[in-house]
Amino acid sequence: MTAQEVRLCGLLLQEHFGNVVEKVGTHLIRSGVLTLRALAHETKLPLDLVKKSLCVLVQHGMCTFGAGRRGPAGPVEYRINCEHIFHMLRYPRYIYTAKSLYGDTGELIVEEILQRGQMTMSSTVKTVADRLTHNMPEGQSMDYTGSSSSGAVDTPLPVATQPTEPESNPDCYKLPYINLTGQGKRRRSSEGGEAEQRAAKKARTDNSECGDDGIYWQVNFQRFHLHFRDQAIISAVSCKLDQTSSEIVRTMLRMSEVTTPAHAAFTQALSANEIFRALQSSYNIARPNLDQYLSLLVDDPMEFVGKTGDSGGGMYVVNLHRALANLARATLESVVQERFGSRSARIFRLLLRKRHLEQKQVEDFAMIPAKEAKDMLYTLLSENLVQLQEIPKTPDYAPSRTFYLYTVNQLPTARLLLQHCYKTVCNLIERRLYETKENKRLLEKSQRIEAILASLQATGAEAAQLTEVEEMITVPERQQLESLRHHINKLDSSENQVDETIFLLESYINSTKTSR
């Protein structure tokens, strides 16, 4: 784990779970794998607090435990899963996506499960139903048929005798994003696993009335990530080409959603006939037009779509890994452009394309005067965005007899930028915490006054009293509060935006890992 990643994990844990969990978590990240006693000893926290923190982390899936180095007889060892902690940055995006795809119910379900780590379906349904009816006026009955899972409020769910194959549960078919890691009690004990997991028979009172005792549901982050990746590709196509092409790509991606494995480099091959049939009629694309669009997409230098055969009117695939690489490259170029100017960006793009160039060649190809080109190159070099490759003519690397070539490697540069993004998010969070701390007194005062106002209004006070209370905050204080709120909103939405870049770069880097 890099220093920035550890710092970010610490800040995220602190924000959501408090200082204790943060301490335990960061120490565990730094040390790798530890047993409970070692952890308690090294963090110098009371054992109970460490236990509680580990429970919280395990509940949320951020910490895994397993038999240690001494085998099943030895103590259990704990390990932190850092990616899971980074996902906390993206919670609002998951919830918003669920809302746009599945409506309010879906949004609430995802929110509940994200906040609690994992839940049984019955408890999820209960909580969500409570929240929905809480917001609705009296006398309106909840229409449960719209959302599939909430139809199971009163009916008993399948008992955990099945090996909890998610497909056998008809509900989850309509919610491809949630679950997929239901783990029954049965399966756990049949795995024979570690001694620590011997299920102590405890009398369950009201949890088991719905019969889904051991089935826990978690959010399937991978599925969400695939959806985000598809969205990125579609918006890229619509920006580069036009709306219709993006609709075609969207159709292709939707058709291959279930058939394509998660880390595949391309989707399944789809024939043009299939695509034509699957296209929604609202788009009104005629068959020859579709063929033209497809050939346009194939010829595009971004290589989103490729042709793999001629049967069925032409077999087309979406090149997922290549699309991700192109998106990452566009991100890098845009970063250079915004930080160093468009001419530096030109040099950067040139080097990306031509791989290795001497300084003279850079000046010539980029059509930039020598002095400025030299300056820009050296700036980029000092920022590590451009590397220098020495090619010696003689075994002693005499400078007069060595070629110095400038080059840009996309993958290492993407990793570098990813670390910068982590650092950026850390800085944003810390700044936000600092701003909140600076104005803590003012914030508390305003909260108290709001509480007093609310209670006064509840008991039906007169307007004079209300204005009197409101005037307790002076005008300059009000302005200060306003500007504070504005700053914090800005910092928060910056975090969200940086997270989008993080997602792109992470997907690209992961795609290169798996293809090896």
Binding site: F17, K51, C55, E196, K202, R339, G341, Q359, D492, S493
Partner: protein, 249 residues
């Protein structure tokens, strides 16, 4: 390689002017100080994205942050009492204890060594046990007030507020169902739980009585819910055994 010492010896493979200084010149001055922490930016950053989506996600983020502080997963270390032991400590419960867990995870899916005995609802019973000896002493002092309150309660129960009864029943039910581990319910412990609700109210009143002359608004601050407040407002005369004017308005 020794043979090429003479030829092409002083030629560089690149244009020397590009370096910025000629041969034989002194190198450019070195930097005396570290580069500034916040170097001035050449270009202003691009403005943030705006729109409905962005606003919604911003609101979601802030809500999530606020609500996660109230969840039981947010762990705060119990504060160690560093200063003098106060009389009010006896009446103030609700201090966090390290050895209780506020939510109930599925222990079958966690390592056994992480299991913490769920003691929170039992805390009152366990706390009451050592006080069993003190009860006769304490009860003697509070007997007057207790009796008066009990009469009032009966009156209240007759009149209205099924809600209060339900609330009490719910509290008891929750406390009964809470601990999966301990299954021995004593009648005494249920009694203790019911008395606890009494004591809470009494304790609040007694606390407030320590400062005799109080504005009624401050006096009412000790009561959290509307029900308690209205209850006290109705029955305020009876709570003070001595002077009637000590509940100054």
């Amino acid at each position: 390689m020794a043979g090429s010492r003479g030829r092409g010896r002083s030629q560089f493979t690149f244009n020397v002017d590009a370096l910025g200084f000629g041969r034989g010149d002194s190198l450019p001055t070195s930097a005396q100080t570290p580069s500034p922490l916040f170097p001035p930016m050449q270009f202003r950053p691009v403005p943030l994205q705006t729109g409905e989506e962005v606003d919604y996600m911003l609101a979601l983020k802030q809500e999530l942050r606020a609500s996660s502080k109230n969840l039981p997963f947010h762990i705060k270390a119990a504060r160690t009492k560093t200063d003098v032991a106060r009389y009010s400590d006896k009446y103030q419960n609700g201090e966090l204890k390290n050895n209780c867990i506020e939510w109930s995870p599925d222990w079958s899916r966690m390592p056994k060594e992480l299991c913490i005995k769920v003691r929170k609802p039992r805390k009152t019973a366990i706390g009451a046990k050592p006080q069993l000896k003190q009860k006769p002493k304490v009860a003697a002092k509070k007997e007057e007030v207790l009796q008066k309150l009990e009469t009032l309660e009966k009156r209240e129960e007759e009149q209205h507020s099924e809600e209060e009864e339900d609330e009490e029943k719910k509290k008891q039910n929750d406390e009964e169902e809470g601990p999966d581990a301990d299954e021995d319910y004593d009648e005494e412990e249920i009694e203790d739980v019911r008395k606890k609700n009494h004591y809470n109210l009494i304790d609040n009143i007694l606390q407030s009585l320590w400062c005799r002359h109080l504005r009624i608004s401050f006096f009412l601050r000790f009561f959290q819910t509307q029900k308690e407040m209205s209850y006290v407002k109705k029955n305020i005369f009876f709570c003070v055994p001595q002077s009637k004017e000590s509940h100054m308005v």
